[in-house]
Amino acid sequence: MKNIENVSRRRFVQGALASGVFILSARFVATPLWAEEDEKTSPFDPSVWMAIGSDGTVIIVAHRSEMGCGSRTALPLVVADELDADWSKVKIDQAIGDPKYGEQDTDGSHSVRSCFELMRQVGATGRAMLIGAAAAQWGVAAKDCSTVPHFVVHKASGRKLGYGELAAAAAKLPVPKKDDVRFKTRVEWRYIGKESNALFDLPDIVTGKAVFGMDAAMPGMLYASIEHPPVLGQKIKSLDDKAALKVEGVRKTLTIDTVEPPHLFKPLGGVAVIADNTWAAFKGRKELKIEWGSSPNSVYNSAEFRKTLEATSRQPGKVVRNVGDVDAAFAKAGKIIEAEYYTPHLAHAAMEPNVAVAEYRDGKVLAWVPTQNPQAVQETVAAVLGIKKEDVTCHVTLLGGGFGRKSKPDQVAEAAILSKQVGKPVKVVWTREDDIKFDFFHSVAAMYMKAAVGDNGKPTAWLQRTTYPPIGSTFDASARYADDEMGLGWNNLPFDIPNHRAENGPADYHVRIGWLRSVANIYHAFAIHSFADELAKSANRDSVGYLLDLLGNARTVELNLKGDDAEDARNYPLETGRLRRVIEVVAERAQWGKRSLGKSHGMGIAAHRSFLTYVATVVEVEVDGKGRVHIPNVWTAVDAGTIVSPDNIRNQFEGAAVFGTSLALFSEITATHGVIDQGNFDSYQITRMNRAPRKIDVHIVESDAPPAGVGEPGVPPVAPALYNAVCAATGKRVRELPLAKTKLA
């Protein structure tokens, strides 16, 4: 039994192609990919990755979601390249949620990283079979044939056949083994790494034809807006919906049970107003009179919680990495430097608020969702309705941003529950206030740092301790340590310091905690790279030179890691040489130390590896007379290994500079008695054009290392580089996000 096989019919092909269809399907196995396996032991259905119609149309399945990072374009481009297809003849079919595709969670900046070789093999196998079909027809050896886009050619005789003409014959051939398939060499790539690549959906986006989750519709659907418990865990004490029901267009109200921990991706609970259109649902909801019961989370006040976190971070915590003997080095050191850093909760605030359409019928659910994880939709909806996950069909629309929020399908479960009760499809639309107040929040964190500094200004010992409510608390209500998040910039400090200890302190949660673009790297990088700069300035050293000294010579950093982190470390060793290189490149592009800066200007640097990608960022700031920070320039150098679409990667890092500016300057989520204080873009501010970096220079360092992440790794260095620049400009060292809370003038 082979892992690739021909399949005659599949859902997406029906109606999409006429006849003479060649469909290549792949059996997905986690490890080792593409190994021979016994059919009896394989529980998976073959999954379909591509098809070629007799008219030459190539359909390629995108099994990852598109939220703006380009996965839906990048993965099919890799298939098309190895297939040697003409990109203009390619159509992309968005996969439904189905384990046959393997993991589909579009997060962790790993779509290209995890699927690059798989997509290459799908394309290369298809190309080999098309060549085989042409060779048989001509009666020549396959090795004497080659391809030009969308044609097989036999050079010796000058003959040529189109992929469409060959599709039917190719479909009848046995699928070759991976070892028998010739992959292109790097120099033969037509699309991988090329400037010509643009997003597949670009024309639809600029004309308004692109279908996002907010635009999905089902015939006969009703609209719902839900008043959630203001404090996590509050139950309804009393409900008066008389006024709501009088609103024109409102059909009825329904209640959803309040969630019990662990919260997973279950609905929060509350009162839903069901109406004929979105506006009527919103208007009716304003007329609800609800009295809420008590919740243990009503004690949550951000200012007090900060003190608790900071106190914890001053106490010994769980050791997550230990090198040498930090305590002994501190005991004999001459100069000790300590600092504490604080970062608040953040909301994702994707431009498209949470939304879903779902229909429950005869024990099955059909949903259209802007989701990063359609299989999580299946699991969540199945769990809350008590049905099988195979009976939940999740179609994936385009996402109006995701940033991690849209991996968590609580709103889809809401739509399914309501649809079951009203007997019609239901579209649940969250308001912006719902979206901000009822997020799975980026965690609030306190970091304590301590270093012993030698005569040369370089640390002989470095202790770092981080404390924050972990993401794990969403899945296990008793989780107080962030064990699974230590790989996000905490247990892998790349500096060459003989004595180093990293610790993690315990913290309780009072809101749902989730992952947000680059996750714990945000606060970890903020603390580490602010502190590194503090040491540089304390030693009267240039920040770039000092950073390179901290990294030491080019070497592989020894990490004693477990699980996924260990797997990553094997395949993607942490190389200080690559980090040094991006620092040197960014310093050169920014003309570090050579530019004459105006008064009240300053430059700062930070370099951080996350999602296996090496990034260095320099920020130039100007602090005006009112203490407002302007950003004339950001320079970023990135080594993401092998890349697919360079211009899209530049766009990702330009966007990361703006995203990083938002959290550095403006954004903060706080709670009072368990209620989130912010609600819309007036109280939860993100960067607008007039405060965004004026110029963003992104330089991609060429590399033929395996592909690494691009969606997230641009974010972590921005805030520390910006704060280091503010310190250079004003002499003020600020140790908490966002900067808006500190008066600079």
């Binding site: 986006i205 907010m214 024109e248 819309n680």
Partner: protein
């Protein structure tokens, strides 16, 4: 009964006169290119043209639309130089805010044939993009201005 001209066609509406134009466009007229982002005129995702001027449809009740001419992204004759520039510069990432950005940019260029960076900041800072495509938006507006000048 509210009468309006939508993308060149006469339309009538006899529902809730307080309903914002945004929800009429999306839920009643089925034109989903105009997006919901905030409901408070804070993000610009819902930007359309009323008699040629950019407005926020999320806070514009239907009663104020009566007797006026509304143009949405679907009513922009494709491919407009602004859309063309958006494609050439490859502005979008997720794309959700971009129809609002484009409608705002078209309105800006109607009044100001040669906008400076400062002019663009003033006109566009009401339109949020969480993906952070602002520098490309600025470049694309300059490109579109050039093209419009050449056409004139």
């Amino acid at each position: 009964m509210i009468r309006l001209k939508l993308n060149g066609k006469e339309r009538t509406f006899d529902g809730d006169p307080e309903m914002p134009l945004l929800w009429y466009l999306r839920d009643v007229a089925g034109l989903t290119g105009t997006k919901f982002g905030c409901g408070m005129a804070l993000c610009g995702a819902c930007t359309v043209h009323q008699n040629g001027e950019a407005i926020r449809s999320c806070i514009t009740p239907m009663k104020e639309v009566s007797g006026t001419e509304i143009t949405t992204i679907e009513g922009v004759p494709a491919i407009h130089p602004v859309q063309k520039a958006w494609m050439e510069i490859r502005v979008p990432q997720c794309g959700y805010c971009q129809t609002g950005q484009i409608m705002q940019a078209i309105a800006l260029l109607k009044d100001n044939k040669n906008p400076s960076d400062q002019d663009i900041d003033v006109a566009m800072s009401g339109n949020l993009c969480r993906c952070g495509t602002y520098s490309r938006i600025r470049t694309a507006i300059h490109e579109a201005a050039k093209e419009l000048k050449e056409r004139a």
